[in-house]
């Protein structure tokens, strides 16, 4: 499998890496500006406060999950293909757990997300199993168990539960936006300033070098997945609060949107390079593009088509640019 055989062909110096990183940041920023200009010039209603809020709202949920996904991608474990299902299950869990109060519901949901996705990381980290296949299988399992437990019906919060503030505006800006901003700052700081974050970069760049320098691949992989689990659970809580009901079909294209945000943000798909801040911009770009297509009357399949073309182009350009290939 290519994931196992990817080897650096040429040594990438720190200076070259910084230069590549700057080019990607510049590229993402230019892409965002181009989307905004095209949208404004060609589409009525795109450049408006209401639409700006709509884009920000959509980017919030995608972005929160994408923050966690950035950790997994940087660690060299590709991506998870089941975060959409987990977010939906977390939304159901949160609404059910409101029976025990708001704080308990948040703690239970975060713990649930961290455990469910963390276990997948543990499996991947300890055995070296393929992360894509493990996460696809885990998605099918979660879907089956959730259908079994919920008897296939929607989950509703208990009468009188006070949770609506989680989706309501605060000083004119929706509350989830504050969560997104806070998580972006914390995510970037942990990734760039902590030992855990720096170890993830090293492991993603070269697992062999990481192992030789005493890093525990299993612990780090599990840690990256736990971060993804916490982010997915946080998104699930906000989805549950916004929809006021929980179903398995509530998250639509969330999985591919979050992966797209990470890749558009310039995080290298083969690991070792990336940034939470750029992922956040990537989430905004993805949401702005989807919003633009929606306003212009294009259906969901066209949005998928455009997203697919963008993801393919970004992957090709990013890997050619990085000078790493498995040829």
């Amino acid at each position: 499998m290519s994931t196992a055989t990817v080897t650096p062909v040429t040594a990438v110096t720190p200076k070259a890496r910084r230069s590549t990183s700057s080019r990607i940041t510049l590229g993402v920023t230019i892409a965002a500006i181009v989307v905004l200009i095209i949208g404004t010039l060609t589409t009525d209603g795109f450049y408006s406060l209401a639409n700006g809020k709509a884009i920000l709202n959509a980017a919030t949920i995608v972005g929160i999950i994408a923050i966690g996904m950035t950790y997994v991608v940087i660690s060299g474990n590709l991506f998870s293909l089941s975060v959409g299902v987990t977010a939906a299950v977390c939304a159901m869990t949160f609404l059910w757990a409101l029976n025990y109060g708001m704080v308990a519901a948040i703690v239970i949901t975060l713990a649930f997300g961290a455990i469910v996705i963390g276990l997948q990381g543990l499996l991947v980290g300890t055995t070296g199993a393929n992360p894509i296949m493990v996460t696809i299988g885990a998605g099918a399992l979660q879907e089956a168990v959730a259908t079994w437990v919920s008897a296939g019906v929607s989950v509703y919060p208990p009468e009188g539960a006070n949770y609506a503030w989680l989706a309501a505006p605060l000083f004119g800006i929706p509350f989830p936006v504050y969560v997104f901003i806070a998580m972006t700052i914390i995510g970037e700081l942990v990734l760039k300033r902590s030992r855990f974050g720096r170890s993830l970069f090293l492991m993603g760049e070269s697992p062999r070098a990481g192992r030789a320098s005493g890093l525990s691949i299993a612990t780090l992989t599990t840690g990256a997945f736990v971060v993804l689990g916490l982010c997915t659970a946080a998104a699930g809580i906000l989805i549950g609060a916004f929809n006021q009901s929980g179903t398995l079909t509530a998250t639509g294209t969330l999985t591919v949107d979050s992966i797209s945000a990470v890749l558009v943000g310039g995080t290298a798909v083969i690991g070792g390079r990336g940034s939470v801040l750029r992922t956040a911009i990537g989430a905004l770009v993805v949401s702005a593009i989807e919003d633009l297509l929606l306003i212009r009357g294009f259906s969901t399949p066209v949005q998928l088509l455009v997203l697919g073309l963008i993801v393919s182009a970004v992957v090709v350009l990013s890997q050619i640019n990085s000078g790493r290939s498995n040829r």
């Binding site: 099918a140 088509l305 997203l307």
Partner: protein
């Protein structure tokens, strides 16, 4: 880097997958009566019908896995092939079949070329390709299922032959046989396994690695599309979004069939056994009238189990234990 020892994918190599299929067949016959249900010849006919469509996806995916890559877009090309066939096959099913399969082969070749030319991670590039194919399918189908009015084609494809087969399943069996023969009687199979075993060394040894990788992706998309065409014509409906189930089925069938996750290992016979095993498992739950989620639960668990079973740690442990057993054989001492 040395080329790993490549193996032929003869029937003997895939004996464990074959035994597993036989075991499942016995379970399907023996267990349901305990719970007051019974399997019949129709149960096996149904299993072959499923294998005809989903098994072809597994065969396509397996080819990319043997060369050390992974085509995540097989479920989407499966849907695209079926949708194209229904949309353009109204007048003639042959035209629909050719457009459905032909367009997907070109799509697969483009993906394969990108992977081979620039050494791009195939999972990432085929994720993008998967979205593109799904987008085209949904746009063609107006984001909903499309019916195929030529019901005669479905009747012809599904009509039982000696109670067990149909034109649909015989077509799939013929494709499996063709791939089996190509991989075992021509240089192609050796070249594919060498490519999966050690790419740079294979290139040095004169194997046309880029052409093999590109061709594998073309074949993968074409076979998945053929599965989609057979499914759409057979059920007179083309779906816009098949979900992840076809991919889960295909990956699990490949791993059960002995296709290695690191490339260089596996073949059509093993994939056929893996596909039939899963199809029989599904029929087993249908016979027991179990809820749909039970089948998903088992399929998801099986995918995780076989993925972990094929992981580097388990393979290393197994090889070490086998080596220990070999060296532990007592040698008669000379008097």
């Amino acid at each position: 880097m040395m080329i790993r020892r490549t193996e032929r994918s003869g029937i003997g190599e895939a004996r464990w997958p074959f035994f597993l299929t036989l075991l499942l067949a016995v379970v399907v016959v023996a267990v349901p009566p305990i719970f007051g249900h019974a399997a019949s010849l129709f149960t096996f006919y149904n299993a072959l019908q499923s294998t005809a469509c989903l098994g072809l996806i597994a065969l396509g995916l397996g080819l990319t896995m043997i060369v050390g890559e992974f085509d995540l877009s097989v479920a989407s090309t499966y849907a695209l092939g079926g949708m194209l066939a229904v949309k353009f096959g109204g007048g003639s099913p042959i035209v629909g079949l050719l457009i459905g399969v032909g367009a997907c082969v070109i799509f697969g070749l483009v993906q394969g070329f990108i992977v081979a030319r620039w050494g791009i991670n195939s999972m990432a590039i085929t994720l993008g390709g998967s979205l593109v194919a799904l987008g085209i399918t949904g746009t063609l189908g107006d984001n909903k299922s499309q019916s195929y009015e030529n019901y005669d084609v479905g009747v012809l494809l599904n009509n039982p032959i000696v109670g067990l087969f149909s034109l649909r399943s015989l077509t799939a069996i013929a494709m499996f046989a063709l791939v089996f023969l190509l991989m075992n009687l021509t240089k192609l199979g050796r070249g594919m396994r060498a490519t999966g075993g050690g790419r740079r060394a294979s290139r040095t040894a004169g194997v046309r690695v880029d052409a093999i990788i590109t061709g594998s992706f073309g074949a993968s998309a074409g076979l998945a599309a053929l599965g989609g065409v057979l499914q759409s014509f057979g059920t007179a409906t083309a779906t816009s979004n098949p979900g992840l189930f076809p991919l889960i089925f295909a990956v699990t069938a490949c791993l059960l069939g002995g296709v290695g996750l690191t490339g260089g290992r596996g073949g059509a016979w093993g994939i056929a056994c893996g596909s039939l095993t899963l199809a029989l498992l599904s029929e087993f739950f249908s016979t027991l009238a179990a809820a749909q989620y039970v089948s998903s639960l088992v399929t998801g668990s099986m995918l995780i189990l076989v993925t972990v079973g094929a992981s580097p740690l388990i393979i290393r442990t197994w090889r070490e234990s086998r080596a220990r057993r070999t060296t532990a054989v007592p040698v008669p001492s000379a008097i």
